[in-house]
């Protein structure tokens, strides 16, 4: 149900800004891009608010932040050469990934997943949400979350195996 007394905008911002930024930052790994996504999310949410009452600010923000960050990640991967410092493709396959390299690899790999799988994976693993919570945010069934998560993990683990030269 929509809130009977919706909070004012400063309260909404104070309550949700950090989480929106965090979701975007975990997915993108760039402070600047995450800030841009957060601002875009607030703009979109404001438009949605003007069109009618918001059922769940938390869900709306999580959904927008996740999908917009993934969209940017995918487009960036498609249209812009990744910075060498963030790319692992040039490494020796037997190079042992550590720390920031692993994080960069995961983001690059997540960008290659279908959008729903990427969103489910991000919310499940970066936001530590259970399947019911992810389903509510993405407005899909719990079964769909389970399937997407299973496929996403499978694809990522296959990519890791391939990268490590383990066939």
């Amino acid at each position: 149900m929509a809130e009977e007394y919706p909070p004012d905008w400063p309260t909404i911002v104070e309550r949700h800004a950090e989480r929106i930024f965090r979701i975007a930052y975990r997915i993108l790994g760039s402070v600047h891009d995450a800030e841009d996504v957060a601002q875009l999310v607030f703009i979109e949410a404001k438009r949605v608010q003007e069109a009618g009452p918001i059922q769940s600010w938390s869900g709306l923000f999580a959904r927008l932040a996740t999908t917009r960050a993934i969209a940017l990640l995918r487009r960036r991967r498609q249209s812009v050469e990744m910075d060498d410092t963030h790319s692992v493709s040039h490494l020796d396959p037997h190079h042992h990934l550590v720390g920031a390299e692993l994080a960069a690899w995961l983001r690059n790999a997540a960008a290659q997943l279908p959008e729903q799988q990427a969103a489910v994976f991000s919310l499940s693993h970066f936001e530590q949400l259970d399947r019911n919570e992810v389903a509510a945010i993405l407005t899909i069934s719990v079964e769909a979350v389970s399937t997407a998560l299973y496929k996403a993990r499978g694809r990522l683990q296959e990519q890791l195996k391939s990268f490590n030269g383990v066939q």
Binding site: W9, V13, L40, S79, L102, R153
Partner: protein
């Protein structure tokens, strides 16, 4: 967010160890508190801004020039807004001489600059036109070859080394041919601009300007070097409301060139992978196109009407994000593209799109109205019904 250390295990217990390490690496990155403060500050600034616009820099991250132009091309945006013909009333010898030169232009080239509100820099393309009317447009690494009817027959992606063949869809000049008609219009009209625009320097050349006022909302500013009677620059303004296109500039003209005929070849270049494009969908009359376009958008948006029917960025983003099949996106783009020539031919006072912020299922209301050639007011409602209305029924401003 849940506590990482307590929930990490239960959420990641079936992950392969290295994948688990990768997730942990992401989660271990510290969150910059100063960035969060900036996010809050920027978001708070939106409080007093109803229907805030997405800033250009932000917009660009989600909306590359290439994507914009791909959809624009599909909907023949730029081409169709050039539909108006010119009616020149007074005479000017410099203008007349420049037009006379155009009539004998032979093969020529020029630069086209498309100015869009969301882009700091114009989108630039180079246009080559052969004596037989074929043309070659190069833009952002894409090349399109048009036949003498103006129909796109071959598109080439030089980066991907791929080409797409477009079958002709009739003997009539394509609407897209209108892209070049600004020149034909000037050539065919002759000697009499509407008014003088005075003088202005272009790259050190003192030029005199003439304004041409066609029907509808479009105007041309034609700048001529009076010493040589050379055409220096043509600017087109007055695009349909909300289109996001501020103006189109044609400049750096070179006439009577000797251009290699291979530049206009409809054959796929050697070494390029080729595909055949889907045929363009059949075009519908204005009202039907509008209704179909709005239906298509609301099906993708969960019922929300678009902010604009002339700014296509939101449409294209939605098509991309929904991974709309190419055939369907072509149809939707064609419906959208059909609107522009009609809107261009109308005065800004004779139509308005009022669907922004509305959604299917909300209280029935007018989302678009216009005055047709019979001077009847026609309205499209949020349930996609179309009716003739009275002036009193128009939405309040």
């Amino acid at each position: 967010m849940n506590d990482i250390t307590s929930t990490f295990t239960e959420n990641h217990d079936d992950l392969e160890p290295q994948l688990e390490s990768a997730v942990w690496a992401v989660l271990s990155e510290p969150l910059p508190t100063d960035a969060i403060a900036r996010v809050k500050s920027n978001a708070l600034a939106l409080e007093d801004k109803p229907n805030p616009e997405i800033l250009p820099s932000l917009h660009n991250k989600f909306w590359s020039r290439r994507s914009w132009m791909q959809v624009s091309s599909l909907a023949t945006c730029v081409a169709l807004v050039l539909v108006a013909t010119t009616m020149l009333q007074s005479s000017s010898s410099a203008f007349a001489q420049a037009i006379e030169k155009l009539k004998n232009a032979g093969a020529y080239r020029y630069k086209e600059l498309l100015y869009v509100e969301t882009e700091a820099e114009p989108i630039e393309s180079e246009v080559l036109v052969a004596v037989d009317g074929r043309s070659r447009v190069s833009m952002l690494g894409d090349v399109s070859i048009h036949d003498s009817n103006g129909q796109v027959r071959l598109t080439i992606d030089e980066t991907a080394k791929s080409a797409q063949i477009h079958e002709p869809y009739g003997d009539e000049p394509a609407d897209s041919a209108i892209e070049f008609n600004w020149l034909d219009h000037l050539k065919s009209y002759g000697e009499n601009p509407d008014k003088s625009l005075g003088t202005m320097n272009f790259d050190g050349r003192a030029c005199v300007g003439y304004e041409v006022n066609p029907t509808g909302s479009v105007t041309y500013a034609v700048w001529v070097d009076p010493k040589t009677s050379d055409l220096v620059q043509v600017e087109m303004k007055g695009m349909p409301k909300g289109s996001g296109i501020t103006k189109l500039v044609m400049k750096d003209f070179e006439f009577n060139l000797s251009l290699d005929s291979n530049l206009f070849s409809l054959d796929v270049p050697a070494g390029y992978e080729s595909t055949t494009a889907e045929k363009l969908p059949e075009l519908l009359p204005f009202e039907e196109s509008l209704v179909e376009a709005l239906k298509g958008f609301t099906e993708l948006s969960g019922g929300n009407f678009p902010r604009s029917i002339t700014d296509w960025s939101e449409w294209a983003t939605l098509m991309v994000e929904n991974e709309m099949p190419k055939e369907q996106s072509m149809i939707l783009s064609a419906r959208l593209g059909t609107l522009l020539p009609h809107l261009t031919s109308m005065s800004h006072d004779d139509y308005d799109y009022t669907g922004a912020g509305k959604a299917v299922g909300m209280k029935r209301s007018i989302v678009f109205w216009y005055r047709n050639p019979k001077k009847q007011l026609r309205a499209v409602y949020s349930d996609f019904k179309v009716a003739t209305i009275a002036d009193a029924d128009l939405p309040k401003k």
